[in-house]
Structures are given as C-alpha cells and as structure tokens.
C-alpha cells in the first residue's frame, strides 16, 4: 500500500480498472460519468491499452462483447439513459458467459431526468434490465476507495464466474473527492481456453447464445441458473454496523449508506439504539441477514435516493416480521440528514 492520494470517484474507478489489468475500454460521453472515459483517453495509451470512443452506448457494449470474447479484460461505463441502451447486450453477455465490467454512475430519471446523482436504477440493475432469465452481479461502492477496490474486485469476480459484473454507483460517489490508498496492480490472470482467438491446434470455439430448439434452450437455462446460484452462494457482501442491540436498522447502499451512518452516529450519541445494514452486493442481496435481524428489531428504515426500489427487497426479506419504513428523495435531490433524523425519532417514538 502506497500513500493516500486524492481522487474523484470516477477517476478511482478508471485507475482501478487499469490496475486490474483492463486494457480495453469502450464508451460514450454522458454526465456524470465522463471523467471515466477521459481518464482512459489519457492513460490507456501509456498502459499499452485501447481507449475507443464509440458511436453509441450500444456500439460501446458491443465492442466490450467482442473484446471479452477474445478473453481480454474489457469494460464500459455510462450513466442511466446510456445503461438502458446497453441492456440487450448485457443479457447476451451473461447468456454467453462473457466476463466484463459495466459501470453505471447513475443519475436522476426517468427519461433524460437530470444529471445529479440518484439511485433509481436499482430495479434495472438487479431485476433484469434486459430480457430473459439472467442475473448481473451488482456491486455498490459508497466511497471513492470502493470505486477503486470494487472495480478491481469486479474484474476478478467477472472472470471467476464468467459473467458480467455491474458497478452501480451514482453521480455523487462518482464526482466526490476522497483520499484513496492505491493497491498494487493485479499480475495473475486466469486462463481463458474458451476465448475466440483463432482455432490453432484445437477444435474451434464458438461464442453463441442462440438455441433454436426450446428443449436445448431450457437445458442452457438450467446451466445458467446453476451459474447464478454459484454466484449467489459465494459472493454475497454486506456490512452490519451497530446492529447487535439495535431497535431500528437503517438499510442503505451507496451514497445513502453514508447518510445512514451519520444519522446512526448522531442517534447513538443521543442514546438511541440505531444500527445500519449496508448491502455491498445488491444482487445477491442480504436477504438472510435482514430476516435474522427482523426476529429481534422493532423496525427498519430503508433510505434511498429514489422513490423506493430496494425497499421492496427489504420487505420481501423481512416478510412482515417487522415494520419497514421508507425515506427517499427522487430526481437527483439529495436526502437531508435532518429529515432522516426526524423519521428515526418518530419511528422510535421520540
């Protein structure tokens, strides 16, 4: 570990990708993620890699598909409307067992929405933004350090499971500056005997997701479901803070979890028993952890920069064992600490 350096979230993400051995970036400008392609435009040439500004988000993710098919660590990034455009290929990357990294520095929607950070792409990320029964391993950084660390982890997990990985960040985490300790570059990479690089001395490799026969297609779906189960079993990540004795647990990811932590600290200072559960993977989701907590807490408060999306998964996990309240702002407006504190007091009868 070197000394800490001050970086923007988006820069940390791009820097992390280069450290992770990514040498193929394809993207299209959109606020608030544009520092990512700009970083690569500057630094890919010196890293001996490819930065290419594509003609659209659809072309960019298609290029990622091509580079990933040849076994390269490849990525794209965008913000909400651009991520919507990529969905057909994201489904196909998962169906084709192609590892890659996709970064969504989300902004307020729906439609063109606004350029301020928001968390209203949760459904799209974890419920299948594209078509078919597929799953996207989704990581939600809540700091500039995690923009770097989860990017590196994302490439590792993508290769490990041969599935695309999504970093669901937001315009606030992407734009804010924090000190980061920069890890050593990744030096060992998995073999990819399945890659399409020319059939020298072996039978040809095919990357394909078409199965004209429905029975064959169902069999392929069974294999895919087995892959998703392996991911769900192995890659769940979340953080519990002060939940042991908590009466009220705040559930929040990404930028909202930073607000939740501050609210929790203030509440604890007043003697209120408040804890925080922060999902780091949004899929898989910490369903069991929430269910366990539901047996003993008085309630939950889900906090999101949206009109209420993740809260549905909290309710599904809790299954009515405890009340689940919601606090959110949508359209890219920041949640205010005082407003959340007021909700906390009300829920605890203060």
């Amino acid at each position: 570990m070197s000394e800490k350096i001050l970086l923007k979230g988006n820069e940390a993400c791009a820097m992390g990708a280069i450290l992770a051995g990514c040498r193929h970036y394809f993207g299209y400008p959109i606020t608030p993620q544009t520092e990512i392609p700009e970083y690569f435009a500057k630094h890919m040439p010196e890293a001996g890699g490819v930065f290419l500004q594509a003609e659209s988000e659809i072309a960019a993710i298609s290029m990622v598909y091509g580079a990933a098919a040849t076994g390269r660590r490849a990525m794209t990034s965008s913000s909400s409307p651009g991520i919507s455009l990529k969905q057909e290929t994201i489904s196909t990357l998962s169906a084709g067992d192609l590892p890659c990294l996709i970064v969504n520095v989300a902004r307020g929607g729906p439609g063109l929405g606004c350029i301020q950070g928001a968390q209203s792409d949760y459904f799209q990320s974890v419920k299948g933004g594209g078509h078919g029964d597929y799953r996207l391993l989704t990581l939600a950084p809540n700091s500039v350090q995690e923009m770097m660390d989860l990017t590196i982890l994302g490439f590792e997990l993508a290769d490990k499971h041969r599935n695309p990985v999504l970093i669901l960040s937001d315009g606030v985490v992407g734009q804010m500056m924090e000190p980061v300790s920069v890890p050593e570059p990744v030096t060992s990479f998995p073999e990819k005997p399945w890659a399409a690089v020319g059939a020298k001395g072996r039978p040809k490799n095919i990357i394909n997701t078409l199965h004209l026969n429905a029975a064959v297609c169902e069999e392929r779906n069974r294999e895919l479901q087995a892959k998703y189960k392996r991911i769900a079993d192995a890659e769940l990540r979340y953080e519990e803070i002060d939940t042991q004795d908590a009466d009220l647990v705040l559930v929040a990811y990404g930028i909202s979890s930073r607000i939740a932590l501050t609210v929790k600290n203030r509440a604890r200072a007043e003697g209120l028993k408040v804890g925080v559960l922060r999902p780091i993977t949004l899929w898989p989701f910490p369903t069991e952890a929430l269910r366990r907590l539901a047996e003993r807490v008085k309630g939950f408060l889900a906090i999101e920069q949206s009109a209420g999306q993740m809260v549905e998964d909290v309710r599904l996990a809790v299954e009515g064992r405890a009340p689940v309240a919601f606090h959110g702002r949508s359209g890219g407006v920041m949640i205010q600490l005082d407003d959340v504190e007021a909700d906390v007091r009300k829920l605890l009868g203060r």
């Binding site: 594509a54 659209s56 659809i58 290029m63 091509g66 040849t70 290929t89 020319g198 490799n205 095919i206």
Partner: protein
C-alpha cells in the same frame, strides 16, 4: 490410373449440412469465404463474427473460431475482437437488414474508423429469416410481406446503396459490389473477398464486399428465376463494380 482430387470441402467449412433453401446464394458465399481463408492459410488465426439473419448459424458452418453478434452489431463486435487480438484475421458476415437497417450506425462508424477487418455483406433485398419483410434494400415496387402492394418510395423512401455510401468514407481500403449468379461472377467474388482479406493482412483497413444474393423462398421464385432476377432487377439498381480502392 492415378486419382486426382479436383473438388473437396474447404478446411474452413465444417461438414454440417446448411439449412439454406434451394437456390439460396448464402451457401455459395460461405464457400468462397472459406476458400479464401484456406488459400491464405489463416484458418487457425481467424475469428468470424456471425450476425442475425438467415446466416445466423454461420458460427456452425465456418470451421474457425466464431462469435455470434446481436442484430446489427457485428461491426462493433468485430471492432472489439480485432482490438482485442490485433494479430487475428477478422471478418463479419451480414445480411442487408442487419447491416443497412438496424446496424447502419455500426457499419458506417467501423468503416469511418477504418477498422482493420473484412465485411462480407450479403444483399438479397429482403429480410429472409423473419419471413420476407421489406428491407432497406428492397427495390421500389418490390412486393414483400410488409410492402404487399410493392415498395412505395413515398412511404419507405428508395433503397439504400450501401457500397456507394461506404465508398464516400476515407476509412475503407476497398469497397466493391459483386454477384454469384454466374460462374464468372463467382470467380470475381472470390477474388474480391481475397483482396479484402489481403488488405486486412497488410493492415490497410476495412474491406467491404457487397454480394448480391437470392432469396427464392421469399421472392416467390424458383432457383433459376431467382438467379435471373438478380440480372433483371437487382443489377440495374445495384451496379457491380469497385467503388473504392486505395
């Protein structure tokens, strides 16, 4: 008497029977691409990008590493493949709906960037795979399932001449239109495909070979009449020739 082998399957084709209809030219064009790959000795170094259309199963027919692209995206996928492995030989194989409608942006920009791969563009003036709907290349007055009274230019505009359009760009090294409805034209098409591959090997940028093809099934014609229809209807609007050569 000594036996001399005069005809065999190119190594770059598998022995899988193709699903193409009788009289369809896709099979001939596959064979020409495979022969060129064999002649140049690049089979073990080639990555083909199949598209969405009747040739979707090309990934089964070519005996080279294959990547199946989504509808229209083959030039962007091939961009990723070639940028991923600059030493490999890369080609796309695309129909006219794929290349000239849903994938127009991808082909124009791959060509504009002068991406160093070869495009085999099979123009049969119709959407074959989905059952004979109007394509951007369907001729004025041509009847299809979605232009039952014949293509009406007031409604649908005139068909796109992709070779002429691509030839206006500075990126491509070679742009040509050929056909395979006579033995002489088959030979010319083989030469054109070979030239495009050779230019790729020389690092000269995108080669674009448009091949006029048939769709007897959806044209509602026999195999022989379809070949004649290429002469009587297609070539007058889609003249054969070289449109760009660096």
């Amino acid at each position: 008497m000594e036996e001399k082998l005069v005809f065999s399957r190119p190594e770059a084709l598998t022995d899988m029977p193709t699903h193409y209809c009788p009289g369809c030219h896709h099979g001939i064009i596959h064979r020409l691409v495979a022969e060129v790959i064999d002649e140049l000795g690049v089979r073990e170094n080639t990555v083909g990008v199949a598209s969405v259309g009747c040739s979707i199963l090309a990934y089964d027919y070519f005996n080279v590493d294959m990547v199946g692209a989504l509808h229209g995206r083959a030039p962007a996928v091939a961009t990723g493949v070639k940028r991923g492995r600059p030493d490999s030989v890369v080609f796309t194989y695309q129909g006219d709906g794929d290349l000239a409608a849903i994938g127009t942006a991808e082909i124009i920009h791959a060509a504009a960037r002068g991406e160093n791969f070869t495009v085999v563009f099979v123009n049969n003036a119709i959407y074959g795979m989905t059952g004979g709907q109007m394509a951007p290349t369907t001729l004025d007055g041509q009847r299809t399932q979605t232009s039952p009274a014949g293509r009406d230019p007031h409604l649908a505009g005139h068909p796109l001449r992709m070779s002429e359009l691509i030839a206006t760009l500075s990126g491509p090294s070679f742009v040509t239109r050929t056909a395979v409805n006579t033995p002489a034209r088959i030979n010319q098409t083989r030469k054109a495909i070979k030239k495009a591959f050779e230019l790729q090997l020389a690092g000269r940028g995108l080669g674009f070979v448009e091949v006029l093809s048939t769709c007897p099934t959806n044209w509602g014609l026999g195999a022989v009449e379809s070949g004649q229809w290429v002469d009587s209807h297609m070539i007058p609007y889609y003249p054969l020739g070289v449109f760009k050569e660096d």
